[in-house]
Symmetry: D2
Subunit: 274 residues, 4 copies
């Protein structure tokens, strides 16, 4: 490639870190953003219990998927728009912000009007019509790295959002596909300092999805914060064994509380606050 | 994964190969399907010259991208719908079938009414709303493998089309991302016998995109046919040095003619016809 | 890397292909070299039966491992030097050449005096003391590509042999490690034209080791020959289900005969003879 | 694989962590082991200056390669045995332990009698004759992970040492080969908790080799310690721009001192001491 595929994302264009101000937390500063919640919205009780746990542990944003992109068409695909109020109500009850994934152009407007952050999943990192549409909003977008995207491709995907006018983009490393077994994906910790060197955009780490197993989540989370991640995205579920998707890697509220305590110590050691 | 993510695609469900009958050629039989043309539709002359060359060499389908998914938002994105007639007219003039990529739900209906085969690119292999929409058509779909998709994920993506009722699916291997340098992607020849073992769907090979260099295209094409591919998808451009995208790997008409002669010999050696 | 790590191996140094003359076959010409036999030498009967089958099908070289580098120390490690005469006698009985792997400096002299080709396995591709020692011999060396070596690293490893004075080097592609499942390794067909472009050394393909399953061996073999490989290295065993190592991917004599017939047709289609 | 390729290395065999007692530091406890020094021994002044810096910053072991396995035969290969006294004298002067890489069976005895820890490099992770020879010593061995070894293969390689009687093995993660660019290798942080789960052996992280650039070393080091690594192996050189190998990733003494201060904080946050 003779020319860099991104410019508005780059440090050359904007040397200072981009800060997204969510009042309770300013992402891109020394403050860490904690997003937590279940992979998929399933029920009122599930969301309410989780929201209470997220709040109690010090989290800022409640996550919950409405539309789940699944490898198999026979896996649970999410409650769809029916789940939206469950997410919103649980978050409001506990004074949390909200995030959910958008896969489909037709849902963009409705979701943008309802939640605080729109998420683009790994499979859609290069879904350009979707990225362009999100670029036309005045709404924070969390963009997950594709499972085999280089960091340059990742930033070029973000560029599709910025080029349309929306610079409220938060990146999220979620693990890459390698030959390695045991973990579902290999958490690419090196992407964190690399993104910080090349770009002014904040970058979070999702240690849950790559681990595929709750026992490793806290360790990977601590490594990510030590490497300079601007926050975490964690799967929390009140009863993982009954989860309709990704239960194996979900933390129960007590485990999440422990994770937060441990992460807080590491954050302090690298000059970050939580 | 405790359960296979595909069933309608599998040999268990349908032991015999799926055959797509395009009159001049029956894909999924001993006959090979040859798709050729430029990466992107650029002009009337470009399309007309290419179509003549494709026909003269024995090709069946004229390709030409209208909407080009590009890593960088600053790269040429295609002529869009304006290019459609250039594709159709050139193909009609030379009695060829047509294929083009669809990226956007809003274009599905229009394109399905205009071309013979709809292509889903690698970046959209897991764009489920798009796959489902294509599944509702009675139209052949060529589905390209994601750059890091396992063969099971590839078949599971096809399953999203079949499960909606459309079983006219042609798979296409286009190279995977590895540590290997020189080639843009590593052509995964092993995927061809593997798909044939697991599925009844036909599978083509695109040797152009992975090579990234015209000098290797013919060699990889021959390897693919020897490995049992049901056809090829080749980039041909009358003046590659002036191409607006992917010129480096495009063959000129004379090179394409040579490739076809060489491929024909290998096809004969493995009991296929061209 | 500012400077290419190989020179004596390169086309710049020597534009014409290196030819190794084994009387019956000249490797590096249009003639293909066929090496076949069991993964490990096990018994006189096994070697004799295999040698007869290799000869009957048109093979040139009998392979048989004496020292087997195995991932686990608890797997069968080979008969060691005790197996040497079993290999040599079976080959002589059927007028075949011999090849075996050398792992240890202390065995180099003895093996070099006994067999026709010394093999360096993938795990030892960068065992520089071993390569240098082999470079001091006047003996053909077959060097297998490391499972994650780039083609440049592969040629740089060969350079360690050439730089010591021995230019009788045959390269062998044996599959690379990728995320791909099903196959043990992904056969990297692209390495064949790439090596031919960068180097004058001949390159074979081992389709057995990467397949890990006898049903795919013939298909991958044909793809390799179509891509320009200068020969094949195939695992053949009279009773694979009783093999002490790698039985799953070994062909029985009848399957090997069929493979050779099929490969001969593809060879003819690309101007090679067998 | 139906049977695990390692047993003596496993937690099933020995639930408690293996501790190597070097008097000043007990590896495998809460204490971290810090190995630092140049890639290659070059001169008396280089070694003396470096040793002073390593000691001043709190390091325990002085590293320095005598025999450098290099991709190209034309790169600097190390001073060989001539460098041994430079390493030993500099370490003694500053009361440091010593480590150097052994590549060749013939050097094992001499080096084992001279240094405190013998290192096996990535390229030799599966050099079984070498591993077995080291297994017969009563000497600590630091075994580096192969660039594409799975964690199971890594432990199986260690098993070759343990099975011969030597259980003083320290593992070292040094980055894996992926499609990722920028970093020379992708530091696989997930290997650290995984090794700790599967094995009782201690595991260090080498953040220098994978970074390939001094600016990233400290960040990756902190991530590794946060993930539970039992120590670090760092490249330090008094004048990296003049280093005969790997200068780009070497820290100068001042940078190493800063790294140690930062790492110490993270260590404290995860209950480790330095």
């Amino acid at each position: 490639m003779t020319q860099k595929p991104f410019y508005l994302c780059s440090r050359e264009y904007k040397p200072d870190p981009t800060v997204l101000d969510f009042e309770k937390v300013k992402v891109g500063t020394e403050q860490l953003l904690i997003i937590a919640g279940p992979c998929a919205v399933e029920s009122e009780e599930q969301m309410s219990t989780t929201a209470a746990a997220v709040k109690a542990a010090g989290g800022h944003v409640l996550r919950g998927g409405l539309f789940k992109p699944r490898t198999s068409p026979y896996s649970f695909q999410g409650l769809g728009m029916e789940g939206l109020n469950l997410l919103i109500d649980a978050a409001k009850e506990h004074n949390l912000l909200t995030i959910t994934e958008v896969m489909d152009l037709e849902h963009v407007e409705k979701l943008a009007g309802s939640v605080d952050i729109l998420q683009v999943g790994s499979r859609n990192m290069q879904n350009y019509p979707l990225l362009r549409q999100l670029g036309k909003l005045d709404k924070p977008v969390l963009l997950k790295r594709g499972l085999s995207a280089t960091v340059e491709e990742f930033l070029a995907a973000a560029e599709y959002i910025l080029v349309e006018g929306n610079n409220k983009v938060i990146l999220c490393e979620r693990g890459i596909r390698t030959f390695q077994n045991h973990f579902r994906f290999t958490p690419d910790i090196s992407a964190i300092p690399l993104v910080h060197e090349l770009s002014h955009l904040p970058i979070l780490l999702d240690p849950s999805h790559c681990s595929g197993n709750s026992s490793w989540v806290s360790t990977i989370a601590k490594a990510g914060i030590a490497a300079g991640a601007d926050g975490l995205m964690i799967e929390v579920h009140p009863s993982p064994e009954q989860a309709l998707s990704d239960g194996q890697q979900s933390l129960v509220p007590g485990q999440f509380l422990t994770l937060m305590k441990e992460v807080r110590k590491v954050a302090g050691a690298v000059g970050r606050t939580l």
